[in-house]
């Protein structure tokens, strides 16, 4: 957090008198202003000799603090922003699309929770096959449950019966949009995510297909060994000090 001394070049109001006054109350940085009572500070400033100076300084810090938070929006602005920017990807499963109001929302984390064999992986595969028609998908698989045959089956159901070659080409194109990585512990996942971050940064420049969906199947088998649960599935990671 910015120390007040460093802010003097940008805001000349915060000169040494202001800084000494603040230091006498234990305030050295903008962060300290946040947990201090500004009204009490202003009252102390009133009793000081150079009260005008100090009050200007406090007002300046308040305007710096005003830049530190997100802007206030009203309901109409929020709604327009949501309609313009927040897209929805249909999963291809009617019931789930109905429940989610269109599908999975871009920019939000959707969590599928359920006991074993409740269809979570199937939903992931179906969604991946649906989104991969137009965008790139990254599938992180922790339990060897990714099945290309199943994806081909989903895609085969929905395309028109045309020549075998066209069908093949379509399958090739869509399946190459899905990139599947096997990760078995949390550190491997961090590696993949770091690579993904740098990939996404340079993706913005290029046109064409963009990576829009990240699927992790399943996150609990990565996190529970770290939290130290006595789960029988997944690896147990032991640390050496």
């Amino acid at each position: 957090m910015a120390r007040l001394a460093n802010l003097e070049t940008e805001y000349p109001v915060l000169d040494s008198t202001v800084r000494n006054f603040c230091a006498s109350h234990g305030i050295f940085s903008v962060e300290d202003f946040l947990i201090h009572d500004l009204y009490m500070l202003a009252a102390f400033a009133e009793q000081n000799n150079s009260s005008e100076r100090l009050k200007e300084g406090i007002a300046q810090v308040l305007s710096i603090i005003d830049d530190m938070h997100q802007p206030w929006l009203n309901g109409m602005e929020l709604l327009e922003d949501a309609k313009r920017n927040k897209h929805v990807f249909p999963t291809g499963i009617q019931g789930i699309d109905l429940l989610l109001g269109g599908g999975i929302r871009v920019g939000q984390l959707t969590e599928l929770v359920g006991p074993s064999s409740s269809g979570k992986t199937q939903v992931c595969l179906r969604t991946a096959s649906n989104v991969a028609r137009n965008h790139l998908v990254l599938y992180l698989d922790t339990g060897n449950s990714f099945s290309p045959q199943r994806i081909a089956y989903f895609l085969g159901k929905t395309i028109n019966p045309s020549s075998a070659q066209a069908k093949n080409q379509f399958l090739q194109k869509v399946m190459s949009n899905i990139s599947c990585h096997s990760v078995f512990d949390i550190f491997a996942m961090f590696d993949v995510l770091h690579q993904l971050e740098s990939y996404l940064r340079c993706q913005d420049g290029r046109g064409g297909c963009q990576m829009r969906l990240l699927i992790v199947d399943s996150i609990s088998s990565l996190i529970s060994p770290v939290l130290g649960s006595s789960s029988t599935q997944g690896l147990n990671i032991s640390y050496t000090a």
């Binding site: 234990g26 050295f28 962060e31 946040l34 947990i35 009204y39 603090i65 009203n74 309901g75």
Partner: protein, 340 residues
Amino acid sequence: MGSHAKAWLVEDESAREMLDRVLTERPFLLLPPLHRVPLRVGNVVELVGPSSSSKTHILIQAAITCILPKLWKGVSYGGLGHSAMFIDLDCRFDVLRFSELLNHRIMEAANGSSSKVGCHQKDSEAQFERMKPYNEELFALCMKRFLYIRCYDSSEFLATLKTLHYRLQKEREVHGVNVHLLLIDSIGAFHWVDRGSSSFPLECDNRKSWHLQNVSEAVVQEIRRLLLVHPMLVMATKAVVLGNKYSTNELTWNYRKWSAVDNPYSRNITSSDQQLPYREYMPAAWQSFVTHRILVRATDDDLVNGEHQNNSIYLLKWLLPPLNSLDKFTVRDTGVFILS
């Protein structure tokens, strides 16, 4: 001197006049499902419950009641006509759902007034079509009264609270609307982050370090100061984990029975010492600031509402002030519907 002293003795208004004035300026709010205890400005209400127990929905319902006007173009909407501020610390607010609920409320009120006249089905549809541009205008008017901000950490939250006073003054000058409701979604959102932030050894003695107690006290102090100048009703949600022994059996919610069995000295225990079915993690500064506390949770029962609509039933219990009743409600498109 004599005239000044006499001026002190002359009365300003009688008690009845004062009551009239206070009740019109600061009305009691009876928001379903919190209808058992009337809420006023200056109250701090905490909605406690596990994940997915309709806490945010109750906040949204309160916001919609606040931003709807009382009477508009001849139709009574039963709202307050004030602004509502929503500080989103969870960053999970769904504005599309909010606008849906607002639309449903507007249509319900409009349909309700037209059906009172007693027209036929066709007439009411035609009237609905005529009302449509009015509805859009009213919708825009209400949405503009809803102010929203999201905070990604405690410093942003504190920065928001510190600059809120000037923001509200500006709103009052520009739009002439007062803010009546301050909603905070998930006051405990940054609790674990703040708790984990280590305090480095500091040079000066009276320098406050950035840890949980100080942040929490600063938050409470800012809201208190704000309530002095802009009287509002504060509602906050808090996500907790309910203990296992209270998740299945409703009978164990009856605290008096439980505490009498286990603790022979229960007669001396005041309501604040009552055992809560969840673990309280907020610091004492916030806990003592709260004036009303409600516990909500979802049950496993469903209310079958037609072929495809299964609405889950939620249970609500007042912890502060402690009431002995359990309310059941369900959530529909037009809002909360009390079952019992």
